[in-house]
């Protein structure tokens, strides 16, 4: 009797992926024991044998070496199909897998790195995505530990063959370190935290060009770790080198980094919410999403990653924009209201405005800055405190985010405002500048900012606002 790979409740339907592995194993079990038959296989037979061997590796701990030897012997496609299959298991089943199976899964992944399997980069990305932000549960910490050990152990080979994985892992570990450095530590977590720090520092010291690949969000996540002694000097050093800091600020972070901080399941739910759910019927979905992903101590830090994902990695099509599907700014507004801790709310607002600060029309995407302006404008008049809060925060960022590069930021925010108006995202800023409910101080600053570019000759087109 083949055992189940996943935890399943009484009323849960069979999972098709798991079933396909079990079925292949049942069919081919006699062939999985040495001596292995030397028959030539058709493609479907080859695929099925791959499935059977994977099931064997995942469920028969005592025979894992035999199965791996078998796999190495039969492979004819550079492990492409097999690695893809492992990837699917990670994406679709990881959170449900029985603990032993997770151990086997990490074991076989390491083996696939060793043989430089085709597609092993996607597999490592899939595993990194399963590390959950804001989750200090044992199982999540175990995965962090396994992954940091794998990356450390295979450092040379990965730097050589999969440099993007090093950048990706750096982003992931900097982000989870902000969780791991915030709480009181037991000794196990202390050890893990130290390993994660060492890994990140090693990337900065040995492979700085791979840090630069991340772009501006590197600074955003690193900033959360300034209070950690190991990062303090590194941070000061980085910001003192103006060319590096500016280069980072000016390069937009690729959306795949934001996907790294969202599990595939969360991504599916969010994309469903933002493409299928009609405005007005979102309440239940929001409750379900919150119950599943946001409730629990420390869990809400993932809101920051979700805001970044929504702004930068989920850009709706024109059809969706013209339909009555719930717009992104409403979901962002809801997420901000979900934050119960001030530092998380502040970080979520930073995530929302981050691309405003360094906006350059030829590098940046207007869709990344659209949710923030629509949230501010559409919150007038009913949720004026939201508009007020966001506008105030934006000016706070302009003044204090990086005082050595205030001009760059001022320029970024001004171009952001200019583009939003020029491309018709909003018709006019009057709704803000003429709003009686907003404080005169905020309106004055906004007017100043809107006219700033005219003075400096930025905008040769029609002035957006004449003060």
């Amino acid at each position: 009797m083949a055992s189940s790979l996943i935890h399943k409740s009484t009323y849960e339907a069979d999972n098709p992926l798991e079933s396909s592995l079990i079925e292949a194993f049942r069919l081919l079990e006699p062939e999985l024991r040495p001596p292995f038959p030397l028959t030539i296989r058709t493609e479907p037979e080859y695929f099925n044998l791959n499935r059977a061997i994977l099931y064997g590796i995942l469920s028969e701990t005592h025979l894992v070496k035999v199965h791996l030897k078998h796999l190495h012997g039969i492979v004819t496609d550079g492990y492409c199909f097999f690695t893809n299959l492992v990837c699917k298991v990670v994406d679709e089943l990881y959170s449900k897998l029985v603990e032993n199976v997770k151990v086997q899964l990490l074991y076989v992944s390491l083996e696939l790195v060793d043989v430089s399997a085709v597609g092993v980069d996607s597999l490592l990305v899939a595993l990194l995505r399963q590390i959950r932000g804001g989750d200090l549960g044992e199982s999540n910490l175990w995965l962090c530990s396994e992954m940091v050990n794998l990356l450390w152990g295979k450092w040379e080979c990965l730097v050589e063959e999969q440099p993007m994985i090093i950048s990706s892992a750096l982003y992931v570990f900097l982000r989870v370190l902000s969780d791991h450095c915030r709480v009181c530590l037991n000794s196990k977590l202390k050890v893990l935290k130290q390993k994660e720090i060492e890994f990140c520092i090693r990337v900065f010291k040995d492979q700085f060009h791979l840090c630069l690949k991340i772009g501006r969000d590197l600074i955003r996540v690193l900033q959360d770790l300034v209070h950690v002694p190991e990062f303090h000097d590194l941070w000061k050093d980085l910001l003192s080198r103006s060319s590096d800091a500016c280069q980072l600020y000016r390069s937009r972070t690729c959306s795949r980094y934001f996907l790294l901080r969202i599990t595939p399941e969360m991504e599916t739910h969010l994309r469903f919410l933002l493409t299928q759910v009609k405005l007005g019927s979102q309440t239940r979905y929001q409750i379900w999403f919150g119950r599943k992903f946001l409730n629990g101590p420390e869990k809400e830090t993932v809101v920051i990653d979700i805001v970044r994902f929504i702004c930068c990695a989920h850009h709706p099509s024109n059809d969706i924009l013209l339909s009555n599907v719930i717009p992104r700014w409403i979901i962002v507004g809801w997420l901000l209201k979900c934050c119960t801790k001030n530092h998380i709310e502040a970080n979520a607002k930073l995530a929302l405005f981050y691309d405003w600060l360094f906006f350059e029309e030829n590098v940046d995407n207007i869709m990344n800055i659209e949710p923030a302006i629509l949230l501010m404008v559409n919150s007038v008049p009913k949720y004026i405190h939201m508009t007020h809060n966001l506008l105030e925060f934006l000016f706070l960022l302009v003044d204090h985010y990086d005082i050595d590069r205030k001009d760059l930021i001022l320029k970024g925010v001004s171009s952001a405002l200019d583009v939003l108006k020029r491309k018709g995202v909003i018709q006019s800023f009057d709704v803000l500048t003429c709003c009686d409910m907003l404080s005169p101080f905020l309106k004055e600053r906004l007017v100043k900012m809107l006219s700033w570019k005219n003075v400096s000759g930025f905008n040769h087109l029609q002035p957006v606002f004449l003060a």
């Binding site: 409740s9 849960e12 759910v277 009609k278 409750i287 379900w288 119950r291 599943k292």
Partner: protein, 139 residues
């Protein structure tokens, strides 16, 4: 597979459908030993009251996508028109979250009368309420 809008009361286990659980009511004991729980479930075409039975009551949560095989749509002991698995039917959780739904019409809030031209069948007589009176919509 039927959509919920197509179901009509019958004394037979003949309904195969898929829906998402929107809400669950309180679990009560029926006849002193069997647990039952009324829920609001829906698909893209309609909603209906579903009666969970014994372990089903705890096994399903709002947001779960459920496949019902050989279910029955009929009056329960409290004279509510409900969908349920019944003795011969089966419910399975097949997913979560990713299913669109509407709450109106609610098939349990329709009064049905025997079809004069087709014995054993029912036809809709009138709409009692466009939405569930037990589980009001959430805004």
């Amino acid at each position: 597979m039927q959509s919920l809008k197509e179901i009509m009361p019958a004394a037979r286990n003949n309904i195969n459908t898929r829906f998402i659980v929107l809400e669950k009511g309180r679990i009560t004991l029926e006849g002193g030993e069997n647990k039952t729980c009324l829920g609001l479930v829906a698909d893209e075409s309609a909603s209906v009251h579903f009666q969970f039975w014994n372990e089903e009551c705890e096994a399903f949560q709002p947001g779960d996508i459920v496949r019902l095989s050989n279910g029955i749509f009929s009056y329960n002991r409290s004279n509510h028109l409900v969908l349920r698995a019944g003795k011969r039917g089966k419910v399975d959780k097949v997913g979560e979250f990713t299913m669109a739904f509407v709450e109106s019409p609610n098939m349990s809030e329709i009064s049905w009368v025997p079809d004069p031209n087709n014995s054993g069948k029912y036809i809709q007589e009138s709409i009692i309420s466009p939405r569930s009176r037990i589980f009001p919509p959430m805004v």
